[in-house]
Each structure stands twice: as structure tokens, then as C-alpha cells.
């Protein structure tokens, strides 16, 4: 202050935020690109830090897999008890997993809207603008991401408040969750499809193909088969034949963004070695005990999933459910010497995708060596003897692709849509349109590609009697439907689709309750699961209802 008794210079009270930006400082072409990057930042379901972003994982392992018949929460019964409620289909509005899912994806939406608002502001200015072409692309990318975030929320919660860039925060507050958001999602994907090139400079960005595939998926969820099919056909045509693409490249951190990848959450280790932008959503799936990646022991495949990989002598899945007869249990329930001396039974006939999806005792796990069984598992008596494969990285990549000291946080990308998904979605439509031959062709391509997988070997001999053969024919529409759905389970197991597929097929109740009957006989924690119609979606988080001042209505 310059004077003793008078007023101070006005600038004495004018301070600047520390380490933060004001809107003036980002009102530029670079600012728009930065905001768009920020909008992509939520594709991994995480704002910052590593812990606590499980239900919002792009893999949707919790709602999509634990919530279905493919996986158990794992760890032990007392760990993350609110996840037990997801597995047991008894989720209350105060379950934190719903809140986490909701607010991460709405943050993604807010970032898209903020990007679109800033874009408009910058483009309306005189200088420091984007080229018109790039401005269009930015708009299309932001709208693609917004549609993606809304779609993930739509299938989880069903009834959503729809907020776009025209609404200021105080207006957004008042939006109800009564309308249907699918038309808006479609509009955004259409805009992206119409304004994005087939190839973008960065593989992680949305492009035309991704928009086509995603729009098709949104149509499929609404059973708009005629709208969806041409899109899937275009996507399939735009990519190499799937039989030429190795199955396990989809889950190999050094082969990411290959030709099968259509839209994937991009993950990387930060330059300082931290993991905020890595695959934090799946980190609890790091194994327990003496495993080279030691964490928490969540996300364990079910007996039901493992046995569904059993094949008939003809190399086909046991569509009639007979895979549950005399099930394979690994070393579960053995004691004493029988347990200690357990050897894997190499004569069992399995689809080779099993050992690229599930880790089981006596079989090599990735390049880590033989999976030792319980030594990698927190509480096998609670959630079984199996571990998952697709979310993990090779030991050889651990040095560079994981967070040091926390190697359960990896840089592995997570597929949101990959080509096999599109093949099988197209096959579904052909079945519904009763074009069984076309469906058969697509399913058999997926199976033919599976047949290319080298089986795991122990001591030079295959760990199982691996066998996967094409279907000779689809004998009826029902059989075809069953086969396509079964194939979808096998091919995309543990990738976050299962629960949402069961719900849109309308078979969630019967599938999950029947599964509980089988699985609960082996693992008592999963007996007597009941599934109500309302369990097809999750309740709107109570806290969001409380904060919405009456705009949001509970769906449960």
C-alpha cells in the first residue's frame, strides 16, 4: 500500500490464482485442443489418483462381469462389501459404486460440453482460432465422447438427465431424468460419423469407423436391427478379415491399437512413473499373495465361465448347458497331499481361448510361469481358484508398462469396441433377421481365429485337449441365437459386456438365477441369488438425487 491512511491501490486486492488457469488464458486454439484432450481424459474412468475408480473402469468389470455369471468380486467376503451387493444383485441407492460410476461419467460429459462451449467462443473470436476443418473435427470428437459417456451411463442407470453444451451449470441442475437419452446419443454419434475421417493421426482418437461401430451398437441395444446392420457391415469391410488377426494381440500391451481395435481406452504410465492415466479401473484385479503382480485379488472368473469353455468332441461349445455336468474344479476342495501334488488334467477338452482368459493352476499364465493356484489368491474358498488374464500384462513388460512399486497399475489399453464384438453384433442381427447363413459365417470366422491360438503347454505338451471347430450349420433360429450368444460370452469374456448383454437379451433373471444354482453349490457365498426386473439397471445414486433438488427421480 502506498499510502498510510487512504485507500490502497486497487491492484493490492487483485490476486491471481496459483497454478491454475483462468478462462482468458485458455481462450485459444491450443486451449480448445487442451480441453478436448481433457475430455478424452475420462475415457479411463478416472480424474486423478489411482485408487477408488473401480466401478467406473472402462472394462466395466464390476457391473458388466461381477454383476453377471462370468466373475466373482474376489478377494475375501469382507473386502469392499458394497461390491458384494453388486454381485448379489442387492444394490441400494447409497452403494458407492453407483455414485462413482455416475460422477466419473458425468465429469466426462461436462468436459465434452465445456470443450464445445470454448470451441464456440474461440471460433467466434477474431484471432487464435482453429481452422474450420479442425473445428468441425473437434466438435465431432467431443460429441463422440459425450455419446460414449452417455451410453455407458444409459445402460447402467437407464434414466438420465441429459445435459449438453447449451446449458450453464445452474440450468443443468434442473434437468430431470424422465426423458429417453438414446436419440441424443444417436445424434452425437451420427454427427461424429459424418464429420470424422476414417483415420485420425492418433490411434486413440475417435474416428469414422469407431462412430459407425458405436452407433450400430446403440441401435442394437434398441433392437433397431435395420439401422445397425449396414453400419456393422461397413466396419467389417473397413478392417482386415478377423481370421488374420491374433486373438491375444487384443490383450497385449505391446501390440495395442492394432487393426482389431476400434475404440479403446488408452492407458500409459505418466512420465514421472505415476499411474493416473493408466489402467486404474482394473487395479484391484492385481493378484494376491506371492504373485509377481501383488495387489488385492479381485475379479476372479467363475466356475461357470471356466466350464463354459469346455467343448464337445466336435470342438463345439456345450450349448445345452451340459458343461455344468461333472464340472472341472481345478484343485478346489482338495486337501493335504492331493492338494499339494495336484497336477492339471491335460486330457480335458477346452476352447483354447480359456487359457487366454483365465489363469488356472498348473497352466502357464502369460509368460509368468506356471500358475501356482492358491498362492496367488486371497481367499479361494470364497471366490474360487481362478484368476483373470485379459487385464494383466506380460512379465516381460512389467518393467516399462507398470507403475513401479504398484505394478498392478498397468498401461494396458482396454477395448471398448473391437472387431470381434462387431462381428458378433452383426451375427446377432442376422439371427434376428433369420439370415442364419450370414450369422454362421461371422461366428465361424471368430471361431476360426480362435483355432489359430497356440495352446498353452506344460513340459512340452498341451495343457489341455484344445479344440475349437466351426459350426457346421445353424439348425434353427433358436439354436443360432443360442450359439451367437454363447460365442459372445466366450470371445468377450471378462471384457465388460456380459451383464449388459444378458439384460438386453431379456435373459438376465433366468441366466443369473440358474448360474447361482450351479455356482452356489460350489461356493456357498453365491447360493440363492435372486434377480428382480429392477436389478436390470442400478439405482440412481442417492447423493445425486439429494443434490438435484428434486430434479432426479429414483428408478428403483
Amino acid at each position: 500500500c502506498a499510502t498510510v491512511l487512504g485507500s490502497c491501490g486497487a491492484d493490492f486486492l487483485e490476486r491471481n490464482p496459483q497454478g491454475e488457469l483462468s478462462q482468458d488464458q485458455i481462450k485459444s486454439a491450443r486451449g480448445v485442443e487442451g480441453m478436448l484432450t481433457g475430455a478424452y481424459g475420462l475415457v479411463n474412468g478416472n480424474v486423478s489418483g489411482t485408487w477408488g475408480n473401480y466401478s467406473s473402469a472402462p472394462s466395466q468389470w464390476l457391473f458388466g462381469e461381477v454383476g453377471a455369471d462370468n466373475a466373482h468380486k474376489g478377494s475375501n467376503n469382507g473386502d469392499q462389501p458394497n461390491m458384494n451387493q453388486v454381485e448379489l444383485h442387492d444394490v441400494s441407492p447409497t452403494n458407492d459404486n453407483t455414485e462413482i460410476m455416475w460422477n466419473r461419467y458425468y465429469e466426462g460429459i461436462a468436459r465434452c460440453n465445456n470443450t464445445l462451449r470454448l470451441l464456440k467462443l474461440v471460433q467466434a473470436g477474431a484471432t487464435d482460432k482453429l481452422s474450420d476443418a479442425r473445428a468441425k473435427e473437434v466438435e465431432a470428437e467431443a460429441r463422440f465422447l459425450r455419446a460414449h459417456y452417455y451410453f455407458f451411463l444409459r445402460r447402467t442407470f437407464s434414466k438420465l438427465p441429459y445435459v449438453d453444451e447449451t446449458m450453464a451449470p445452474e440450468d443443468a441442475l434442473k434437468v430431470t431424468n424422465e426423458g429417453e437419452v438414446y436419440p441424443k446419443i444417436e445424434a452425437d454419434f451420427k454427427f461424429a460419423m459424418d464429420n470424422l475421417p476414417v483415420t485420425m493421426a492418433d490411434p486413440g482418437r475417435a474416428n469414422k469407423t469407431a462412430a459407425q461401430a458405436y452407433l450400430g451398437k446403440v441401435y442394437l441395444y434398441q433392437k433397431k436391427y435395420d439401422d445397425a446392420l449396414p453400419l456393422f457391415t461397413t466396419v467389417i469391410g473397413a478392417r482386415p478379415d478377423i481370421t488374420t488377426l491374433p486373438f491375444d494381440d487384443n490383450f497385449n500391451v505391446v501390440k495395442e491399437n492394432g487393426p482389431e481395435s476400434i475404440f479403446a481406452a488408452q492407458h500409459a504410465i505418466n512420465p514421472d512413473g505415476s499411474g493416473d492415466n493408466a489402467n486404474v479401473g482394473d487395479m484391484l484385479g492385481g493378484f494376491y499373495g506371492t504373485a509377481p503382480v501383488s495387489c488385492c485379488g479381485f475379479f476372479q472368473p467363475t466356475f461357470d465361465l471356466v466350464n463354459s469353455f469346455r467343448v464337445t468332441a466336435a470342438g463345439l461349445p456345450m450349448l445345452d448347458g451340459s458343461y455344468r455336468t461333472n464340472p472341472y474344479l481345478s484343485d478346489f476342495g482338495l486337501t493335504g497331499a492331493a492338494k499339494d501334488n495336484y497336477q492339471v488334467n491335460k486330457s480335458l477338452a477346452f476352447d483354447p481361448r480359456l487359457d487366454y482368459t483365465v489363469g488356472r493352476r498348473g497352466v502357464p499364465y502369460r509368460d509368468w510361469g506356471i500358475m501356482p493356484g492358491d498362492a496367488w489368491i486371497r481367499d479361494p474358498a470364497y471366490a474360487g481358484p481362478f484368476v483373470a488374464v485379459k487385464h494383466m500384462v506380460d512379465a516381460s513388460a512389467r518393467g516399462t508398462e507398470t507403475v513401479a512399486g504398484a505394478n498392478y497399475v498397468t498401461s494396458l489399453n482396454v477395448n471398448i469396441i473391437r472387431l470381434a464384438d462387431v462381428y458378433l453384433m452383426a451375427a446377432e442381427i442376422y439371427v434376428e433377421k433369420n439370415n442364419l447363413a450370414a450369422a454362421l459365417a461371422l461366428v465361424n470366422k471368430v471361431r476360426a481365429r480362435a483355432a489359430n491360438l497356440p495352446g498353452r503347454t506344460v513340459g512340452g505338451t498341451p495343457a489341455a485337449a484344445y479344440n475349437v471347430k466351426p459350426y457346421l450349420a445353424f439348425t434353427s433360429q433358436d439354436m443360432a441365437r443360442n450359439a451367437v450368444r454363447f460365442e459372445r460370452r466366450l470371445e468377450l469374456a471378462l471384457e465388460g459386456h456380459r451383464f449388459y448383454d444378458l439384460v438386453r437379451w431379456g435373459i438376465a433373471k433366468q441366466t443369473i438365477e440358474s448360474y447361482s444354482g450351479f455356482e452356489g453349490d460350489i461356493l456357498s457365498a453365491f447360493e440363492n441369488i435372486t434377480f428382480d426386473t429392477k436389478d436390470e439397471t442400478f439405482p440412481i445414486p442417492q447423493q445425486q438425487i439429494d443434490r438435484s433438488q428434486g430434479a432426479l427421480k429414483q428408478t428403483h
Binding site: 485507500s7 478424452y40 481367499d379
Partner: protein
């Protein structure tokens, strides 16, 4: 009185004659000279003061009346007679009415105060051995609530007249005229000379925008003219944890049976690997194992070969780690294990003195306190130098007050910046509530045992946690002080300038060790360190004009400006993977090989204020005080940057009126009333603008799956209109002194209403994603209260061999959240796992506990069928009251289940003296407040593998049908695990806070008469506590989140008993 008037007239007529009057003033009690006593000729402005020998010389007329007064003494009048020398003996005063205390930018006599100002008896305060002076303020002033905290060096929670806001409720401290916000552990309470608490707006509003929560004015010890006086004092004490209050857990056998029942109640079969696991065998009833773990084998599966000690390897690497741990079948008392009897010691040395133109008070001290929780502690070294000079015939006065302190906070949980911060399930105390008692402290080789094993939960060994943090030392250098100058411009007009500075830097290290004994342990080792500083300067300029017509008018007018600026910056970095462990000399960042991280942050702020004040008194009878302050804050946008805070108060000293004058019973009686407005601007900065951030963690994206690209996100959303929160307060009070000071006291009634409360109304994610919602001015809060302080003083004035002071304080405050935003019906907060403990709801007190009303348990299938129930309700499970009456239990049945605010606070102190002996006792209590014992989540509910309270032994069963305690269940519905009345208890307590017995030696002949005083004493603190509360300690600090959750106990650091011996000596 009339007689002296008469004498004066008479003398004027007959004997008027100017002469030189000489005299000496001595103290009645110790017969020592009284320097600095005022000698004034009554009815004139002529006067002088006594010199250091207590002597005075004055020109007076025969028959004049001399008034001789000095602070702490009863004033005396003598009539001047011809040719006499006077020996005046002043008696100690029973009243503090003439004491001059510092209030807002000025000093006033206590009897002239018009606002609600509590003058703290600093001497009583100092009897308590504490690190922070705030703690010993407990019970010393009405309307001030202190919640102590047992952690060494911790900051107690202080609330003046309740909670004025849902935001920060900490008061403003003003130390030697310099405002300060923050914790006060750096200030040695022995350096405090006076402490005043400005409670109402009429007294506090001169501090405007920072005064909403009350102002605590502290002046530090100043020099007194005279030869150097040296004071040395010291005490040594021991602190004993209150083991009787430790929570009692089931023994391992009881716990095993409890777990068996939990599985049975959930329809599962215990005694299997999938349920109760390896520890308790496979039978229908549990048997305890010999071993918990040997390598990878657990529980009863451990064979002799597994447990062969030669296989033992307590290695740093998980691959080779092989631990062998025996079960502790008796059970480990973890609270015993982590607590200890701990020493506290203090020494201080001070000297003060000075001459006519310079005085000084300098001193230094040390306080060392070990925690009663092991491996925690606090050390403080402090020095102070206060000097005063005068020049130009005393027309120019200047000086400085400076304090430097160095503090060390050792171990975990001793350096919370805000009271209660260290509480939580991850603290050592939190783990003591969670770790199974079957786990021993150490394994067979004496290394730490832990929860690695089968179904031993995921608590850490709390002693291991404490031990491994023993080298985590946070160090703080703190400088606080000011320089000032004061000049008499013309008669009555004084200009003053003061420049105050706070400079603080701090640094600390934090180590992590491999903790492979822990079920979620890791082989990682690491060290992180942090450094930072806070700088604040305050430049205050005032002009004061005093105008007086003796005994008729007295007017003081003050105008001033104040500028304040703050800046802080913080830097931290860490790495993992050090070659050596536990070697503090080795721990530097480059020696770490992985997990390289570093960060920094900072803040700035400024305030500019102008203020004025006028105090007028007419014939000491009618008093008026007016203040106004206009504050500008960098926290607000240009449009709403300034706020104006006026206040006024009046007082009427009835005792000066003719109808009471001379009344033997009433010595002084004053009625006060005041009204004023204060403000609050203490919110995070820059709420008025949208703020964006480009951080790797928050907004970057790896477009190629390999390396990240920079991005931006909006981290905070603006409210351009955010402005001052205001508090309007009305106070009416009565001060009285009776029977010449034998009784005194004050009654105050107040009403305080906060409007435009700054409230970060949480917005739904659909509106702002996960960005920060801005503070908005919305909502009202109300506090009304009554305060009563009473004192009885016996024997002081007459200097009887037996002297007694009794002080009683009672205060009641009723808090109510009047309204929130029109759109916000209520807000539930205090989230802890599945609990949400607290609610903000209009019409209810701030921090009300929220949840289901406990109605015992469902006692039969019939009861279950007939009663309202929730999804997953079961026989033996918690039964709640159907508040909505809709026949079922849903979240809508959650309701208010407790009030954390006390009905009233009370305290009383007794100080007695008999000849050379003195005795002090101090008690305080809180009545009618509820506490939320959140630790019951772990000890009384069976979700976790862990431990269980002995309370659960009395659980309901068909053979214990009257129990209202639920049974365990491993598949509990989340309704069972929700917040409920089961957690809420009466938290009232009555505590003997302090007891001290001292002896004053007669030292006249010691050290050749060079020793002035010597007092030795023994004392005890927290000797006993009466409470029904079942947690560790009924003093539960708030926990901090967006809003504070009051009285929620996650495991507080309990206060301990202290036993002391000490002395103070003067030379």
C-alpha cells in the same frame, strides 16, 4: 464522597497554600514499594507517578485530595495537610475493575468496557501444563468451548459462542496487535501477559471481516521499570494413559465363537475353509490355533516342519519373506501395547526490567512432551524479546515484540493442522480398533507380527505403524512479531504505526518400510519430504485522539488503516527403493530408485481495511462505543469486494448514580447492551472465477497408448456474486461487583444470526461433473445463549492469612441452522465407509447426527413379519423405527438421532492460599451433548475380519431375549451397516482438569537476599473424568471435510493424566 467535597471547600477557604508534598507508596501485603502508581489531585488533571522506589513529589494545595491508584490495588484518597510526608499503603484490590485491558486497537479499563469481553485470569491459566495456550483457556471464560486433544503439540478446537457458520469456525487471534489465524502451539503460554476474548460483535466488529468467530486478544509479557528481575521456572511430569477407558475387546475364543455365529446367522457353515478358514479348525465349535502363519501356511494347517525356526526369514522381499507367528490365545490388548506412561518437561528463564526510557522483557523456554501413544512426541524451543523505548521527553515511543520458536512434531498423528485431522481408520488408534486380538505384537523372533495369515483382516499392527513412523519428524521454525512506533502529535493526538510479520517455514520427512507382516503389506520402502513457508505481513496505522474533562467527559476517537498480505508455498517430493532402510543419514531423494514424485502448491491473499472507533463516557456513568470497519478482500470479485461492519454499544454504570452511590452492598454495577455486524471471508480463494487446470494427473490423455498429451479441465466453477458472510449479533449484559469485591460476576444474553452464509452447495455431477462447486451466500444460522460467570473472593483485601477465590462459569448456547439454500432441503455428510453420520437440515443444530432410530432387534419370525422392515432384515438383526409410518424401512426413515452440542458447559475453579501454602483446583464439564462412536463400525458389526467389543457378548439370542444388541451376520444387508442410533451416546462429562498445591518459601535471607521468591508445587491434570461415554475420551474434536462433523469419534487421541512437580524462582 460528600465528606471530602466538604473538606475541600473548607480547606480552600481557610488554608489554601501551595506546598511540595512528598510520599511513598508501598504495598500492604509485601511491604514493597509500588512503582508507577498514579498520584492525581482530585478534580484536576495534575498528577505524577511514583518512581521505582515508590516515591512521589507533587505540588499541591493544603486540603487538596490526592488520589493514589495502581493496577491491582484499591485506590486510596488522602487529604493534603500542611508540611507532611505521606506513607501510603495500598491494599491489593479484590476487583479487576481498574485493570486496563487491550481490546480492539485500544486499551480500556475493565469498568469502561461496553461489549462482551471475557478477561481471562492468566495466572490461573498458567497453572496448567499444556503445549498450546488454547488448551488451558478451557473453562476460563464463559461462552468459550475448548475441546482438548491428547496429541502432543496438537491444536485444541476452540469455539466462541457456538458455531457461527457451517465453514471455518476458528477465532481470530490478535497477538500484540497483529492478527493471526492458525494453531497456537508455537506460543508459550508463560509469555502471555493478558488474554481477552471479544465475544460479541460490538467488541469484535472492529476486526470486521475476520471477527465472526470471535477474537482472542493476547498481549505478551512486557518489561517493567526496575533492576533486572530474573525468573526461572521448571516442571517435570509424567503422563499416564487412562487405561480404564480403553475399549475392551473379546478374547480370541469369544471372538472365534462370535465369528462362528456370524456365519451361521448368514446361512453358512462355519468350520470350513470358505467361511471361518484355517484358524479355528473344522469342528462345530472353534478351537484356537497354535500358529497363525508360517511362511505361506496358515492357522491350524501349520505343521511342525512349517514352524521350524530355521526357515524363518524376515526379509525385505516378498518372495523370500517367511514369518512364523504364534497365536496369542490370551489376546493382545492393543491399546495397552501402543500406549505408555510418558514424560513432560518444561523449563523457562526470563528477565525483565528497564529504566525511564527503555524497558525489556526477554526470555526463553523449552517444552518437551512425549505422547502417551508410543513413538509420538513434541518439542518446542522458544525465545522472546519485547522492548520498549521512549524518546523526546516520552513523546515518541517505539519498540518491538519478537518471538521465535522451533518445534518438532514426532511420529504419526501429532501434527494435525486442524484439530481432529489425524483421526481415522488408517491411524494407529484406528487400527487398534480393527486388529484381531489373537495376533501377537511380535512373531517368534521378535519382529512385528501382523494380519498376514488366514482371515485376519486388513488392519496394520498399530505398534509397527507407530514404530516405523518414529523418525517422521515435522519441524517448524516460526517467527512472529512486530515493530511499532507511536508519537504524540499534539496534545491528546497520538499516531501509531505497527508492522507485523509472521514467517514460518517447515519441513518434514516421512518414511515407509516394507510391512510384509501385514495382509495388504508391501515390500516397498520409501522416503518423502516436504518443505514450505507461510509469510504474512500486517501493516497497521492508527490515529488516536483523547479528550477529557476530568470526571465529566472522556472521549477517545480512533481512525486507522490496515493492510494484510499473505503468501505460502509448499514443496514435496518422494521416492521409493532405498538401498538402506531406517538410516536417517542416508535418506536423501537421489538415493531412491523408483516412484519418483514431486509437487508444489501455493496461495496468496490480501486484505485492506479502514476502521474507526469512538468511545465516550460521561461522568463514568454513561458509556457509548461506536465502531465501524470497511474491509476489502482479495477473495471476492470487484463488485462485492468491500464490506462494511458497524457496531455500537452502550453501558450504564448504575453504581455511579446517586441512588446507588455509597451503597455498601453494590460496589459496581453496569448494564451493557451492544449490537454489531461482523463478517467472514475465510473461504478458499478465487471462488468468483472459473478455474482450469492442466495437470498430468487430471486432464492428460495418452492418445497413442504410450505417452501422455497435455490437456485442460475445469476444476472449479465460479460464482461471480460470492460476497461476505455476515453475522449480526445482539448482546445484553450485566457486570456486578458486590461487597467491595467479595463477589463479582457477569451475566450475558446474546443472539447471533449469521446470514448469507458461505456455503459450497454441492452440485449434482450432471451439472458440474467432478469439478468444484463454488461457495454461494445462502443460508442462515442462529445462536442464542446465556452466560453466567460468578466469583467469590475472600481475604485478599484484608490480607488475611487465608485467602480464597472461587469462580464458576456456566454457559449455554443453542445452535440452529435456520435455512440452507431455498433449493437445498438438507445435506447428509460425514461419509465413513457405509456410514453417513451427520446432516445439515434447516431447523436442526449444525452437525446433527443422522441415521435410523435404533429399536433393538427383531426377536422372532413373528416380530419380523409384523414389524416394518428393510430388505435383508432378519431375526437378531437391527430393528429401526419406521419414522415415515409407511410400514417399511427405507432411506426415508433416516432422521435426526443426536445433537453434538452441549446443553451447557460449566466449570469452576478454586484458588486458596493459607500463609505460604496455595492450592488450585479446576473442574470443567460439558452436559447434554451426544457423541457418535464411529469406531463401533469395526468393533460391533461383523463385516470385517477383525475384532469385537465385549459389548457384543450381550448380544440378543433366544436365551438373552431382552438384549437390544444385534447379532453378527456375515452377509449383513447394508441397512444393518448404515448410520443408526446404535452409534450415538450421551457424551456429557465432568472432569477434574487441574489440581495444584504450592508452597512459597521465605527466601529473604537466601543468596544474600538476592532471591525474591521461590515457589514449589506439585500438580495433577485430568485426575478424574466422570462420563458414561464408552469411547476412549469424551473430548472428541470435529473431523473435517467440506463441513465439519462434530463429535464423531473415529478414535481420538485421548487426554492423559499428568502428574507434575515444579518450581518457580525469582531473583
Amino acid at each position: 464522597g460528600p465528606l471530602s467535597v466538604h473538606a475541600s471547600i473548607a480547606s480552600g477557604l481557610y488554608f489554601q497554600q501551595v506546598q511540595t508534598v512528598k510520599g511513598k507508596v508501598i504495598s500492604e501485603q509485601d511491604k514493597q514499594p509500588v512503582p508507577g502508581a498514579a498520584v492525581q489531585i482530585k478534580g484536576t488533571s495534575k498528577g505524577t507517578v511514583t518512581n521505582e522506589n515508590g516515591e512521589f513529589t507533587i505540588q499541591a494545595n493544603t486540603g487538596d485530595i490526592l488520589m493514589i491508584s495502581s493496577i491491582g490495588f484499591t485506590a486510596q484518597e488522602i487529604a493534603v495537610a500542611a508540611g507532611k510526608s505521606y506513607d501510603v499503603t495500598l491494599a491489593f484490590s479484590n476487583t479487576s475493575l481498574d485493570e486496563v485491558v487491550v481490546t480492539g486497537y485500544s486499551a480500556q479499563r475493565v469498568k469502561d468496557l461496553t461489549g462482551a469481553v471475557a478477561v481471562v485470569n492468566v495466572n490461573q491459566m498458567k497453572q496448567q501444563p499444556v503445549a498450546s495456550p488454547v488448551e488451558s483457556l478451557q473453562g476460563k471464560a464463559t461462552g468459550v468451548q475448548i475441546i482438548s486433544d491428547g496429541a502432543p503439540g496438537a491444536t485444541p478446537q476452540i469455539r466462541i459462542r457456538g458455531f457461527s457458520t457451517i465453514n471455518n469456525n476458528d477465532p481470530l487471534f490478535v497477538i500484540d496487535g497483529v492478527p493471526y489465524e492458525g494453531k497456537l502451539s508455537w506460543l508459550d503460554q508463560n509469555d502471555i501477559e493478558t488474554m481477552q476474548v471479544l465475544k460479541d460483535a460490538s467488541s469484535a466488529s472492529i476486526y470486521g471481516a475476520r471477527a465472526n468467530n470471535g477474537v482472542v486478544i493476547i498481549t505478551t509479557r512486557q518489561g517493567v521499570k526496575g533492576p533486572p528481575k530474573i525468573n526461572l521456572s521448571s516442571y517435570f511430569g509424567t503422563q499416564v494413559p487412562n487405561k480404564n477407558a480403553f475399549p475392551k475387546m473379546m478374547n480370541p475364543q469369544q471372538y472365534a465363537e462370535y465369528v462362528y455365529e456370524a456365519f451361521r446367522n448368514s446361512g453358512q457353515t462355519p468350520g470350513q475353509e470358505g467361511t471361518t478358514g484355517n484358524n479355528y479348525g473344522t469342528g462345530a465349535t472353534p478351537t484356537l490355533p497354535e500358529y497363525l502363519v508360517a511362511g505361506k501356511v496358515t492357522g491350524q494347517k501349520v505343521t511342525a516342519a512349517d514352524a521350524d525356526p530355521s526357515r524363518y526369514n524376515y526379509s525385505r522381499a516378498s518372495e523370500t519373506f517367511y514369518q512364523i507367528t504364534k497365536a496369542n490365545k490370551q489376546g493382545t490388548n492393543w491399546f495397552d501395547e501402543i500406549s505408555q506412561t510418558a514424560p513432560i518437561r518444561n523449563v523457562q528463564l526470563g528477565v525483565n526490567g528497564g529504566g525511564d526510557n527503555a524497558t525489556y522483557a526477554i526470555g526463553a523456554g523449552y517444552l518437551g512432551q512425549k505422547g502417551t501413544i508410543r513413538h509420538t512426541g513434541y518439542n518446542r524451543y522458544n525465545g522472546r524479546a519485547n522492548t520498549r523505548f521512549s524518546a523526546f521527553n516520552n513523546h515518541f515511543r517505539f519498540g518491538e515484540n519478537m518471538q521465535y520458536s522451533y518445534e518438532e512434531f514426532v511420529g504419526v498423528g501429532v501434527n494435525p493442522n486442524v484439530s481432529g485431522d489425524y483421526q481415522g481408520e488408517g491411524s494407529a488408534l484406528g487400527f487398534a480398533y480393527r486388529i484381531p486380538v489373537i495376533i501377537p505384537v511380535y512373531d517368534i523372533m521378535g519382529n512385528f507380527a501382523g494380519s498376514r495369515g488366514d482371515k485376519l483382516g486388513n488392519a496394520q499392527n498399530p505398534l509397527a505403524l507407530l514404530y516405523r513412523a518414529k523418525d517422521n519428524v515435522q519441524k517448524r521454525n516460526f517467527f512472529f512479531g512486530n515493530v511499532f512506533g507511536e508519537v504524540d502529535l499534539v496534545k491528546g493526538l497520538v499516531a501509531k504505526t505497527s508492522f507485523g510479520l509472521r514467517y514460518e517455514n517447515y519441513s518434514g520427512i516421512s518414511l515407509t518400510y516394507p510391512n510384509l507382516e501385514f495382509s495388504e503389506g508391501s515390500a516397498a520402502n520409501g522416503m518423502s519430504e516436504n518443505q514450505g513457508f507461510n509469510t504474512e505481513w500486517t501493516w497497521t496505522n492508527t490515529l488516536t485522539y483523547k479528550w477529557e474533562v476530568a470526571n465529566v467527559h472522556s472521549l477517545t476517537v480512533l481512525a486507522g488503516t490496515e493492510a494484510f498480505r499473505s503468501r505460502n508455498r509448499f514443496l514435496s517430493a518422494g521416492r521409493n527403493d532405498y538401498f538402506l532402510l531406517g538410516q536417517t543419514d542416508y535418506y536423501y531423494l537421489p538415493a531412491g530408485a523408483s516412484n519418483i514424485n514431486n509437487t508444489s502448491s501455493g496461495g496468496v491473499g490480501s486484505l485492506f481495511s479502514i476502521f474507526g472507533r469512538a468511545d465516550y463516557s460521561f461522568r463514568d456513568r454513561y458509556l457509548v462505543s461506536l465502531t465501524v470497519r470497511r474491509d476489502g478482500s482479495s477473495n471476492f470479485s470487484k463488485n462485492s469486494r468491500y464490506g462494511t461492519f458497524p457496531a455500537g454499544s452502550i453501558a450504564w454504570r448504575l453504581s455511579e448514580e446517586d441512588f446507588l452511590k455509597g451503597n455498601k452492598f453494590i460496589t459496581d454495577l453496569k448494564l451493557r447492551a451492544g449490537y454489531g455486524i461482523t463478517g467472514n471471508q475465510r473461504i478458499p480463494a478465487f471462488q468468483y472465477i472459473d478455474r482450469y487446470e492442466s495437470l498430468i494427473a487430471n486432464a492428460f490423455y495418452p492418445f497413442n497408448g504410450k505417452s501422455v498429451t497435455g490437456g485442460v479441465w475445469q476444476k472449479a466453477y465460479k460464482n461471480e456474486n460470492v460476497k461476505w458472510e455476515e453475522l449480526k449479533s445482539f448482546n445484553i449484559g450485566l457486570d456486578f461487583t458486590l461487597l467491595d469485591g467479595e463477589f463479582d460476576g457477569a451475566i450475558d444474553w446474546y443472539s447471533r444470526k449469521t446470514t448469507d452464509m458461505l456455503y459450497p452447495v454441492p452440485m449434482p455431477a450432471a451439472s458440474i461433473g467432478m469439478g468444484g462447486a463454488p461457495f454461494v451466500n445462502i443460508g442462515d444460522m442462529k445462536n442464542t445463549g446465556i452466560e453466567l460467570g460468578l466469583g467469590y473472593h475472600y481475604g485478599q483485601r484484608e490480607n488475611k492469612p487465608f485467602k480464597l477465590d472461587v469462580n464458576v462459569n456456566i454457559s449455554r448456547n443453542v445452535n440452529q441452522v435456520v435455512s440452507l439454500a431455498p433449493s437445498v432441503k438438507e445435506q447428509v455428510y460425514g461419509t465413513f465407509r457405509s456410514l453417513q453420520t451427520t446432516i445439515l437440515r434447516p431447523g436442526e443444530p449444525f452437525g446433527s447426527f443422522y441415521g435410523y432410530k435404533w429399536d433393538g432387534v427383531y426377536t422372532s419370525a413373528d416380530d419380523l413379519a409384523k414389524s416394518p422392515k428393510y430388505s435383508g432384515a432378519r431375526v437378531g438383526g437391527p430393528k429401526y423405527i419406521d419414522v415415515t409410518g409407511d410400514g417399511q424401512i427405507t432411506p426415508a426413515d433416516r432422521t435426526i438421532i443426536g445433537n453434538p452440542h452441549p446443553d451447557f458447559l460449566y466449570s469452576f475453579g478454586i484458588n486458596a492460599k493459607y500463609k505460604s501454602w496455595d492450592l488450585a483446583m479446576f473442574f470443567n464439564g460439558s452436559q447434554g451433548n451426544d457423541l457418535y462412536e464411529a469406531t463401533r463400525y469395526f468393533t460391533d458389526f461383523s463385516t470385517f475380519d477383525g475384532t469385537a467389543s465385549v459389548r457384543m457378548l450381550d448380544r440378543w439370542s433366544p436365551s438373552n431375549p431382552n438384549s437390544r444388541t444385534h447379532t453378527p451376520n456375515r452377509k449383513a444387508s447394508d441397512y444393518e451397516l448404515a448410520s443408526s442410533g446404535y452409534y450415538v451416546q450421551d457424551g456429557s462429562y465432568f472432569r477434574m482438569k487441574n489440581l495444584q498445591i504450592g508452597y512459597n518459601f521465605k527466601v529473604d535471607n537466601w543468596f544474600k537476599g538476592n532471591m525474591r521468591t521461590l515457589r514449589a508445587y506439585v500438580g495433577a491434570s485430568n485426575l478424574f473424568t466422570l462420563t458414561k461415554y464408552t469411547g476412549l475420551d469424551p473430548e472428541v474434536s470435529q473431523t473435517n471435510s467440506t463441513f465439519s462433523a462434530l463429535g464423531v469419534d473415529f478414535g481420538v487421541y485421548p487426554v492423559s493424566r499428568q502428574f507434575l512437580i515444579g518450581f518457580s524462582a525469582g531473583f
